[in-house]
Symmetry: D2
Subunit: 233 residues, 4 copies
């Protein structure tokens, strides 16, 4: 039997750095190592760096996340190349598990805009239920084919060809505050953004949970990011 | 009706540079711009650079390719981050076409090794035919579900969740000789390699065609890459 | 005798791509390879990509430059890491030439602002002449020491320690339209910029000449960059 | 009065990760998150990853260093672009300090090879002393010119042009185990290396101290790096 998963998982595994550590790196430009730390001035310095696009101090930190999400989300995620490292579950070296993503009821399913500029609307309970039934049937059929192929001795890397992009995957993703802010600027649609973005709903779920951890660990940096129209430096 | 595609497509779209252009960049280290070009010495210089891991001169060129390949190949491709730029067909902004990959008869299907160290063997004609029938059936079912969802008004980005990773995708991929050699070192399994790699057969098909273009455009560089055990500098 | 150089050199050596080639890559997202090119719509598409921060299509091009500039400019240049490849004259593998940078009269020399927020003013002809005399004397002394050390058998890499950061260097620098725009956004101070930058005058000289070549080769892209407040996508 | 510094400084400021954390990321490929950690097998897994060029697991860690070194070392350092973030003391936003690098007696000064393939030999005490006197005189002259220019109201960014590349600079440099190993493979000359490198002695001083911290924090990874001929994965 397959499992239907209607959410993503994001867990902070480890991190390095803080707002103060970013300021420490930034101050080497102007002050050298021996100047007294001025933590009461950190928030102001961070706002200045963010506004004036001094991005490099925000690279002196690290965040390592575990993420479980469907393949179509991981695919979008991996387009973020700079300042990100990834290790993902492999459909070649292991047999995958029967876990598939299907949206929960608050995910708007219907496009009432155009293909190039989609606008999403809820479709009503009956439609949502019908969609979920259809997804589940399709996933079950794919899973059956996958199992049939594996049982026939077919290699993992061939058998997996039938699995849908809704198959759940897992990865570790490590970034720094700068590369994370760049990701958040594109993958969270917020009225605070100077330039609005239209991320897929499911990758925004991942991004929002990463943002919550980021805001907790680097509050002044996150605050300056918001104040800067969610534009990464 | 769906189409089954049993091969990948690679087309060189444009390029910049040559063996001589790589040497021109390398010689600035030692000679400055006004020294006479010594094209008869280019091959020797390139071998020297390759052997001694002077990689930066190999970044002064560019190759732009069009690639058609299944999603599971594009996924592996996008893990190559440095020195590569990509634009891929989007399942959000357009409706995808009913084109799916299934292996041709010379693709070995059966794993006679372990999960961690697969060894591939052909399974015989009858098995190959049975696998292809099963793939085709599964792809047709997925395509029917995709069409059903789209006809129900469901957004592209939701409907596509049912499509398998064997769905054909298209992309433009631009690289430089250095980043291409790094890709080739990992994605072509060759007895010439100092460190053997075990790429998926289908990405090797893409890589081999890129390598043929590379060998034609940068023959001395390609020759030095082979002579260097297919290790990128 | 030493030479004083009062300008930088920038020469386009080679390039790949065009506004149309950027659009070709962008359209794969929505159209696939077989759709008719719509060159009359290219400028609009480019403006759309730039405004909405779709940066990846701007990576499918290349520009290779030769640059002669003082070491202090090259040092700033090399902080641009992503999408740039460099080869620079080496003070280890060759003996350097007695060429040093000193500003020409229209370079404002005096800081009438603060250290953190410098504002530059011209200092008058007499001061400019005195500065140049002092620079020339200092460069000549450094050069004499360099020659003395080399004549004593001291290795290039040790002897060069005495040479000033105004020593002229040469490099090849290869980039793509996206990485070039990022460089231009930070290294040209323009009233067109949404976020003003304060580059050193001499690196702006380099950047302006690169920008002229860029505007000639990719006119629609350059126009959209300006219209977008000189913010790189 | 100027100060002569005859050494570099490297201090580990912060770090994230461990050998176990690298293995955790690697195992997601084959095992998923819920498998029991097998720390007794970590060293073997790390050797396997290193040997077979599975580089990405080594990106899930971070090391932040403070470095004081002469400008000519920092210049070489900044050529390492991927997986490194830097913030360096600025000669534009502050006035520099009168600290200059001159070699200590055990630094071999004389080139007894060729320009392209230097071989270094000690020159004897008398020569070493003479070289140091000459360096000191030259640095003092440059410093005097710098002060003269600053006292004349000349902007920092212009006055610094006279300072030699032996001027001491400071930076914060943050990397991950993979990018650090790549740096070490090129910047430490060791008989353990499969491909020998010829780094400048002073950057090797920096690299060796970074390597000592790395070996302490990631002992299994460091051991596998050595066993792999000091080739980064």
């Amino acid at each position: 039997m397959i499992s239907i998963v209607d959410d993503v998982t994001v867990r902070l595994i480890d991190h390095m750095g803080s707002d103060a550590a970013i300021c420490q790196a930034a101050r080497v430009s102007t002050a050298g190592e021996n100047d007294a730390a001025e933590t009461d001035k950190d928030a102001g310095l961070i706002r200045y760096l963010m506004k004036h696009r001094h991005g490099s101090p925000f690279e002196h930190g690290a965040l390592k996340f575990f993420v479980e999400a469907p393949i179509f989300v991981v695919r979008e995620f991996h387009r973020h190349r700079v300042g990100w490292g990834y290790n993902e579950m492999s459909g070649r070296y292991r047999q995958l598990e029967p876990r598939f993503y299907a949206p929960k009821p608050d995910r708007k399913l219907v496009n009432v805009g155009t293909s190039a500029r989609p606008e999403f609307a809820a479709g009503g309970e009956a439609q949502a239920a019908a969609v979920n039934r259809r997804l589940r049937t399709c996933f079950q059929d794919s899973w059956n084919a996958y199992q049939w192929l594996l049982n026939d001795g077919i290699a993992n890397e061939v058998a997996r060809m039938v699995l849908p992009v809704a198959t759940m995957s897992q990865m570790y993703a490590t970034c720094n505050p700068r590369s994370l802010m760049h990701f958040l600027s594109l993958r969270v649609d917020s009225p605070d953004s100077t330039v609005r973005s239209r991320p897929q709903w499911e990758i925004q779920l991942v991004a929002e949970r990463m943002e919550a951890e980021f805001a907790r660990l680097f509050p002044a940096t996150h605050g300056a990011f918001i104040a800067n129209g969610r534009t990464a430096p």
